[in-house]
Symmetry: C2
Subunit: 143 residues, 2 copies
DNA sequence: GCTACATCCTGTAGTCACTACAGGATCAAG
DNA sequence: CTTGATCCTGTAGTGACTACAGGATGTAGC
């Protein structure tokens, strides 16, 4: 008769949970230091011990980071997903704000891309004295 | 009889060149400290004095930063645009590498945007116990 | 001349999200 | 019993700034 949340992944070292979740060992300790993650159990020799719950949370954090959430946003998401009472609306609000951020960044980068690409296209590649790339950066060049 | 490179913008204080170029005062001093910019002349009282040449360079740096060039890339561009001998090919190479970076970032962000938007769309906004946003982040949630 | 206030100076520390060490303890295998 | 891997704590470095502390000037009004 196994525990309800038990899995094959209990009793891991920090190296094992790092392997399992793909999060760097130093990063895991860093997350603990800034209190993004609660301090785990310790073995008699002082080493950290992780279980399946910890690995689930850590995987969540990693996925959120990959999606570009800041650690503060993740902190909020963890609180909301925490002790029941998770309000889907609040989670959606955080995610929506983040989506707006992403869209603004994409729009900015696209403008940059067009400008830079057009400029480079005008570039002969020879050792011409006036370079269009330098020109576009240096508005006052032709003074 | 005025000097060849003289303009109305000579003999500025750091506050004035900051105003003119839109670069923060602290940032200008920071650029000097990391040797992105050469140390300017000083007045008898020790204050920095800038002229039109400095403001041209600083505007170039600002524009390059807006286009997302790193300070190291800008350092290289300044060297290339520096004492004549500017090879347009080298400038184009730096800009092209940077353009590749920008395109990769856009592509990454677009993937994120699609994933996040689709997830949020599945969100009812009610206080449903299983939130699609948390679900997609927390792969093992339904254990 | 005096008083305010703005502007300048240097130098240090904080931001974000890590990463990289230094210097030591402990463990597992041969 | 030695070697090498893994772990521990703590500090410092990254990029590109920003913010402040604490002090020295400059400028304007009275």
């Amino acid at each position: 008769m196994r525990g309800i949340t038990a899995s094959r992944a209990d009793g891991m070292t920090i190296g094992q949970i790092s392997e399992l979740t793909g999060v760097n060992i130093e990063t895991i300790r860093y997350y603990e230091k800034i209190r993004l993650l609660p301090p785990p159990l310790r073995a008699a020799n002082g080493r950290r011990i992780y279980g399946s719950t910890e690995s689930r949370v850590l995987a969540f954090v990693r996925r959120s980071r990959e999606l570009g959430f800041s650690l503060d946003e993740i902190r909020a998401l963890l609180r909301l997903g925490g002790p029941g009472k998770a309000s889907c609306r609040e989670v959606r609000d955080i995610a929506t704000l983040h989506l707006d951020d992403i869209r603004a960044k994409i729009s900015d980068l696209r403008k940059l891309e067009r400008l830079l690409a057009a400029t480079i296209a005008r570039c002969s590649g020879t050792t011409a004295p006036d370079c269009p790339v330098l020109d576009i950066l240096d508005v006052q060049r032709r003074n």
